[in-house]
């Protein structure tokens, strides 16, 4: 059964910025699905459409079998949403935040009391429950956000960049909690992230989003194994785009050469064997090599291959457009 289905979603914001350009995806019930992509790729827009906050210009989307436009009211009762920004009310206590959320979803009386205490306990907020949410640390606020999204035991949970801005410790803690939710509550979770590590670690399947479309989809292992061989990363003394391509043009067994400033990345069948000849080819081309490393394929490489630019470059491009 599919918990989330979207087909051919398109959305252009006023001002002509195309956020979604025919995005389609399907998420199996009871799994964690990751939407991975740089800032501005269209991940948040997708979540906003699937959670009934925004509407697509065209295309169809169903969540738990319900149309997000025609059946918006029922979709809202079925889903939990943890937005990119804090949804909590800083001027209420943690407990009051949860109580209001419970009331809105029709969880009242004894059931409300029980559920609120249960969530405070589960997210380690029992002691802080009586304090105003604005006095919480970043990690505590984020945990309260997630708790707010769970009050009514949703079937499908949307987490939009849940760990952005968290310190590493809080991030790992939240990862554990998300894994526990999927396992114990049999919830379908759609998670967006621009941390490759996060997608790799949490998602059973993931889709790479770039410029409003999905450019690759599969399990993290499937995506990585599409890339045979290893990645070689070479640091040059000076940046030299044309020279590097020329130096490596005649070299066999090297593919997908990409230069980003002084960093050269390339795919080879066997990294350890390729490095000596690669370095001498570069040095023969007049390029000084500072260091060279070999790595197994990562999601970074998957992204590079499908989006045609490195993740960092995509993030930078977005910031330049925004600025």
């Amino acid at each position: 059964m599919k918990a989330i289905e979207a087909s051919n979603l398109r959305k252009t914001y006023s001002g002509g910025v195309a956020a979604l350009d025919g995005l389609s995806l399907a998420v199996e019930a009871g799994t964690i699905f990751g939407l991975l992509g740089p800032n501005g790729a269209g991940k948040s827009t997708t979540v906003r459409i699937l959670t009934t906050l925004s509407r697509a210009d065209s295309g169809l989307a169903r969540v738990a079998g319900l149309d997000v436009v025609g059946d918006a009211e029922r979709v809202r009762r079925t889903i939990g949403v943890v937005g990119q920004r804090h949804g909590l009310d800083p001027d209420s206590t943690g407990r009051e935040n949860l109580e209001m959320q419970a009331e809105i979803y029709g969880v009242r009386g004894a059931a409300r009391r029980e559920r609120v205490e249960q969530l405070l306990d589960r997210f380690g907020l029992t002691e802080a429950g009586g304090r105003l949410a604005k006095t919480y640390s970043g990690g505590m606020q984020r945990r309260l956000d997630v708790a707010l999204g769970l009050v009514h035991r949703p079937k499908v949970l949307f987490l939009d960049e849940p760990t952005t801005g968290l310190d590493p410790e809080a991030r790992v803690e939240l990862w554990r909690e998300i894994q526990r939710l999927a396992r114990e509550e049999e919830m379908t979770i759609l998670l967006t992230t621009h941390y490759l590590e996060e997608a790799d670690r949490l998602a059973a399947r993931l889709a790479i989003v770039d410029r409003g479309r999905i450019v690759a989809e599969g399990t993290p292992d499937e995506l990585k194994s599409e890339l045979r061989g290893d990645t070689v990363q070479v640091e040059l003394l000076e940046s030299a785009t044309g020279d590097a391509n020329a130096a490596l043009s005649g070299h066999s067994g090297i593919s997908e050469v990409a230069l980003d400033g002084r960093l050269l990345r390339a795919r080879v069948d066997s990294g350890a064997a390729a490095i000596p000849s690669l370095i001498s080819a570069l040095e023969n081309g007049g390029l000084r090599v500072v260091s060279a490393t070999v790595a197994r394929p990562s999601l970074e490489d998957v992204y590079l291959r499908h989006a045609g630019r490195s993740f960092q470059q995509a993030d930078r491009d977005t910031k330049e457009v925004a600025a």
């Binding site: 925004s54 920004r85 949804g87 909590l88 009051e96 209001m100 809105i104």
Partner: protein, 255 residues
């Protein structure tokens, strides 16, 4: 039922937040006192103008109440904050009744206004004012102020959702409130207004509330006038509440 429950939840949240700000509570309670004393001193001599009739303090009380009601026009600032920090988005993806978002905020605004109005009335009584129609008259004054405050609060919320910028809301409120006060009988008796202002005032909701409130506590209450003005205000409230609720559709299309 759900509509009421949802509105109450929203109102509860705003009321609680305000009560946690002692400075706000202090200012709201002092403001009516200052206004009544200040306007009382500033415009005291208007009672000496030929053509002015009746007691000055009895004339001024509804004027100050109406001006306090106009302060509700600032309520939209809370919505802008909610939008900025994501609280509004959380509510909009929940099954909460859309109308409750505005009505809850309006309820909080009207509650503050009623308390302020009671303070003004208490002070006026202490200053020797006489409320001619007893509790009924006072109730009408509070009702008229409440309706006007609810209209301003709803318009403010709707504008806040559409503009989503503090500067825009501040600009509009600043630009609108003073002219609306002066194009009414809030501070000057009708017989003393220039003809053209008198004419414009007929269409000014601030004037509707001032007229109804003033007539209700005056020596010869005109219940026909009070009813029509109350109806005008109620209709305007329906329209502005619908506007504030509809504004969310425009907001959701743009995010």
């Amino acid at each position: 039922m759900t509509a009421l429950r949802d509105s109450w939840q929203v109102a509860l949240r705003y009321i609680r937040a305000l009560l946690r700000q002692p400075a706000w509570v202090g200012i709201s309670l002092t403001q009516p006192v200052i206004w009544l004393l200040l306007f009382g001193a500033l415009f005291k001599r208007t009672a000496d103008i030929p053509g002015f009739s009746g007691s000055y303090i009895e004339f001024l009380t509804p004027g100050v109440v109406v001006m306090l009601a106009m302060s509700s026009a600032w309520i939209g600032m809370g919505f802008i904050e909610d939008i900025d920090r994501g609280t509004m988005d959380r509510l909009l993806v929940s099954p909460i009744w859309r109308g409750a978002l505005n009505l809850g905020s309006v309820a909080q605004s009207v509650l503050s206004l009623v308390i302020q109005t009671l303070i003004v009335i208490g002070l006026s009584l202490a200053a020797g004012a006489h409320f001619h129609n007893g509790i009924a008259g006072v109730a009408v004054l509070i009702g008229a102020a409440g309706l006007l405050g609810a209209v301003f609060a709803s318009l403010s919320n709707g504008i806040a959702v559409l503009a989503r910028q503090r500067e825009t809301l501040i600009g509009i409120v600043t630009m609108a409130t003073l002219p609306l006060t002066f194009l009414s009988t809030a501070l000057m008796q009708q017989s003393l207004l220039p003809g053209w202002i008198h004419w414009i005032a007929k269409f000014n909701p601030v004037n509707w509330a001032a007229e109804a409130g003033r007539s209700a506590i005056g020596p010869d209450a005109d219940w026909g006038l009070i009813t029509t003005r109350a109806c005008f205000l109620a209709l305007l409230l329906l329209a502005s509440a619908a506007f504030a609720t509809r504004a969310f559709n425009a907001y959701q299309r743009s995010v």
